[in-house]
C-alpha cells in the first residue's frame, strides 16, 4: 500500500497560510484605519471603513450575479441569443421538469409536517423526563451531520440485495424477517421520493424538537394548572392548551423547514443524483447549468426557486417578529 505523501499536501497548506495572512492583514488594516487616522473617527468615515468589505463582497458576489442570472434566464444555453420566455415555458411544458416541480411540491409539504409533527410529539413525551437532555441530544445529533454523510448512513439502511442473498440494508433485512420480498427502495417512483424524504425528516426533526421544547417550557404553569382543574384529558390538553400556546413557534418551525426543503440539493445529489424521477428544483438547476451546460435553463430554474422562496421568507420574518413580541 502506498503511503500518502505529506509533501504533496504542502501546497494546500501554503494556500491556507496565504489566506490566513491575508485575513490578518485586511482586518488589521481596517482596524488601523479607524484607530489611527485622524478624521476617520467621524461617524461617516468609520462606518464606511467598517462596512466596506461586506458591501463590496455582497455587491460583487451576490447582488450582481443574481441580477445577471435573471438576465441569463432570457437567453439561450450559451447566454448569447435572446430567447424571450422560452426557458420558462420549457420549465412548465417539459414533462420531466414538471415532474421535478411536482417532487419539490411534495417535499415542501411533507418535510415540514412530518418533522414538526414528530418533533412536537417527541418534545412533549420527553418533557421533564430525567434523561431529557440526553434524549434531546440523540435526536438533535443528525443536525450536525452533513447531507452527504446522512445520505451514506441511509444507503446502508436502503441497500438492496436480490432475494436469497444476505441483505446488507437494514430495511430490507426487516422486510425479509417479516417474510417479505426485498425492495429497491430508491429505484421505484413514486415511492423513492418518499424514502428520500424520510432521510430529510430524520435530519430536521431535531431542530423542531429543540425549538418546540423551548416554547413548551415557556408555557405559564398557571394555564396548565387551570386546565387541569377544569378536568381536561391529555388529548384536550394537547389540542386546547399546548398547541395554541406554542403556535408562533410551530409556525417558525414549519416555515424554516419548508425553505430548507425548497432549497434541498445535497441529499438528492448524493443518494440518487436526481435519477429515477427523484430530482428537485435545486438539483435540476445544478444538472442543467453544470452538467448539461445549459445556462438559460439553469438560470430560469434558479429564478423560479427565488420566486418560490421569497414570500415564505417574508412570512418567516413576520412570524419571528410576532414570536419575539410575545415573549
Amino acid at each position: 500500500m502506498d503511503q500518502i505523501d505529506i509533501l504533496d499536501e504542502l501546497p494546500k497548506f501554503g494556500q491556507l497560510g496565504i489566506g490566513v495572512v491575508a485575513f490578518v492583514l485586511v482586518v488589521g488594516f481596517l482596524l488601523f484605519l479607524v484607530d489611527r487616522l485622524p478624521g476617520f473617527d467621524k461617524g461617516r468615515f468609520a462606518a464606511a471603513v467598517f462596512l466596506f468589505p461586506t458591501v463590496l463582497l455582497l455587491a460583487v458576489g451576490l447582488l450582481f450575479p443574481a441580477l445577471r442570472t435573471v438576465w441569463l434566464s432570457f437567453f439561450d444555453k450559451d447566454g448569447e441569443s435572446f430567447v424571450g420566455v422560452a426557458n420558462y415555458t420549457w420549465m412548465f411544458k417539459d414533462p420531466d421538469i414538471r415532474g421535478v416541480l411536482g417532487n419539490t411540491l411534495i417535499w415542501v409539504i411533507a418535510v415540514p409536517i412530518l418533522s414538526a409533527g414528530i418533533g412536537l410529539i417527541y418534545a412533549i413525551m420527553i418533557d421533564r423526563l430525567k434523561v431529557e437532555a440526553l434524549a434531546k441530544a440523540l435526536v438533535f445529533l443528525p443536525m450536525g451531520i452533513s447531507f452527504v454523510g446522512a445520505g451514506i448512513i441511509w444507503r446502508f439502511v436502503y441497500a438492496y440485495k436480490p432475494e436469497g442473498e444476505d441483505q446488507i440494508g437494514l430495511l430490507n433485512q426487516i422486510v425479509v424477517w417479516l417474510g417479505g420480498e426485498p425492495q429497491q427502495w430508491l429505484l421505484n417512483p413514486p415511492w423513492n421520493t418518499f424514502f428520500l424524504i424520510v432521510v430529510m425528516v430524520w435530519i430536521q426533526t431535531g431542530f423542531a424538537t429543540v425549538v418546540l421544547s423551548a416554547s413548551i417550557k415557556a408555557i405559564p404553569t398557571e394555564i396548565v394548572e387551570a386546565a387541569r382543574l377544569d378536568g381536561v384529558n391529555a388529548w384536550q390538553m394537547f389540542w386546547r392548551v399546548t398547541v395554541p400556546s406554542i403556535r408562533p413557534a410551530i409556525v417558525v418551525v414549519l416555515v424554516t423547514m419548508s425553505i430548507a426543503a425548497l432549497k434541498l440539493f445535497d441529499l438528492v445529489r448524493t443518494m440518487t443524483a436526481g435519477n429515477f424521477k427523484t430530482s428537485v428544483i435545486a438539483n435540476e438547476m445544478y444538472t442543467q447549468a453544470f452538467r448539461l451546460l445549459d445556462k438559460g435553463h439553469g438560470a430560469a430554474l434558479a429564478v423560479f426557486l427565488f420566486v418560490l422562496v421569497t414570500p415564505i421568507i417574508f412570512y418567516q420574518v413576520r412570524a419571528m417578529r410576532a414570536r419575539r413580541e410575545e415573549r
Partner: protein, 308 residues
C-alpha cells in the same frame, strides 16, 4: 464524545412544588406510553448512525456480504478501513488528502465572514450615519436570494479573474462561501449588538474612545456568545457543504471530503468499506464541534435563522 446538554435562552420552569395537582397531572401525561413512544423515536433516530459506525470497523468482506447486525452473532473487528482511507495513496482511496482540503477550505471561509460581518453589524448598530436603516434592510433582504441565483455568473467571473487553466486555487471557494454567508451573519450579529445597553457605549464615547476601541474592547467581548454561535453555524455549513464545493472546487486538488464521498456513494458499491470509514471521519469533526458548543448553536437557532 462529550455528553452535552441542550440549554436554551428560555427561563427554566420553576421547580415542582411537591406532588401538587399539576405535578400529578404532568406525570399522567408523561406516563409509560409516552416514555415508550419517546424511546422508539430515539431508537429510530440513532440506529442508522450506529449501523454506519459499526460497519466502519468490520472487514471489507463482511461489509459487502452481510449486514452490520451480524456483528453481534459473529463479531469481526478491524481498523483496516480507517488506515486505508487515511493513509493509502491509491486512486480510489486517499481520503486523507480530501480531509486536508476540507480543513483548508473551512478555516478562511469561517474567519472572513465572521470578521467582516462583525464590522458591518457594529457600524449598522452603533455608528450614526445617513442611510443606515436602508442599508441594513438591503443586506437583510439579500437573505432571500438562494445561492443558486449566483452560481453561474460567479463562476464566469472567477474564470475571468483567477483563470481555471493553471493549478486550482482555494480562493474562489473562500470567496463564494464568504459572500453567501454575509447576509445571515450580519443579521444575526446585528440582532445581538443592537440590544447592548446604549449607555455603556455612550459613556465610552464621552471618555473619548474611538469606534475602533469601542468595537474591540466593549462590543466584541459582550457579543462573544453570538460570535460563537455564528462561528459554529458557518463551520458546520462550510464543512458539510456540497454545492459550493462542487461548483467552485471541482477538481482533485481542491475538492473537500463531501465531494469525494458523494462520488464514492454514487459508485456501485465496490468501495463500501472505504465509504463507511470515510463518512465517519467526515462526520466526527463537525459532531465534536457541534456537541461541545451545542449551547451556542441552539441559542443561534432560537434567535431565528435563515441561510441562503
Amino acid at each position: 464524545m462529550t455528553t452535552a446538554t441542550v440549554t436554551t435562552d428560555q427561563p427554566e420552569p420553576k421547580a415542582e412544588k411537591g406532588p401538587g395537582r399539576a405535578g400529578r397531572a404532568k406525570k399522567r401525561l408523561t406516563g409509560r406510553t409516552a416514555s415508550l413512544i419517546a424511546l422508539v423515536i430515539a431508537l429510530l433516530w440513532t440506529t442508522p448512525t450506529f449501523g454506519l459506525l459499526l460497519s466502519s470497523f468490520r472487514p471489507e468482506g463482511e461489509i459487502k456480504t452481510n449486514g452490520w447486525w451480524n456483528f453481534f452473532t459473529d463479531p469481526a473487528f478491524t481498523f483496516d478501513n480507517y488506515t486505508q482511507v487515511l493513509l493509502s495513496d491509491t486512486s480510489s482511496g486517499r481520503l486523507g488528502s480530501y480531509f486536508f482540503s476540507s480543513l483548508v477550505i473551512t478555516i478562511p471561509a469561517v474567519l472572513f465572514p465572521v470578521a467582516f460581518a462583525s464590522f458591518a453589524a457594529y457600524a449598522l448598530s452603533w455608528i450614526r450615519f445617513k442611510g443606515r436603516d436602508t442599508l441594513f434592510v438591503l443586506i437583510f433582504a439579500l437573505q432571500v436570494v438562494p445561492l443558486q441565483m449566483a452560481l453561474v455568473p460567479l463562476l464566469q467571473m472567477f474564470q475571468a479573474w483567477f483563470g481555471f487553466e493553471d493549478e486550482q486555487k482555494f480562493i474562489q471557494i473562500w470567496f463564494a462561501h464568504t459572500c453567501f454567508a454575509l447576509p445571515f451573519a450580519v443579521f444575526l450579529l446585528h440582532n445581538f449588538m443592537s440590544e447592548l445597553p446604549g449607555d455603556v457605549i455612550e459613556a465610552a464615547r464621552v471618555d473619548g474612545a474611538n469606534h475602533g476601541t469601542i468595537f474591540r474592547k466593549i462590543v466584541l467581548p459582550l457579543v462573544t456568545p453570538a460570535l460563537a454561535s455564528l462561528t459554529i453555524f458557518q463551520f458546520l455549513w462550510v464543512w458539510n457543504d456540497l454545492l459550493v464545493a462542487l461548483v467552485f472546487g471541482n477538481g482533485k486538488e481542491t475538492a473537500p471530503m463531501t465531494v469525494r464521498l458523494a462520488e464514492l456513494a454514487g459508485s456501485r458499491g465496490e468501495e463500501w468499506q472505504r465509504l463507511t470509514a470515510g463518512a465517519f471521519i467526515s462526520i466526527v469533526v463537525p459532531l465534536i464541534v457541534f456537541l461541545a458548543l451545542q449551547r451556542y448553536f441552539v441559542r443561534g437557532l432560537l434567535a431565528g435563522s435563515v441561510k441562503g
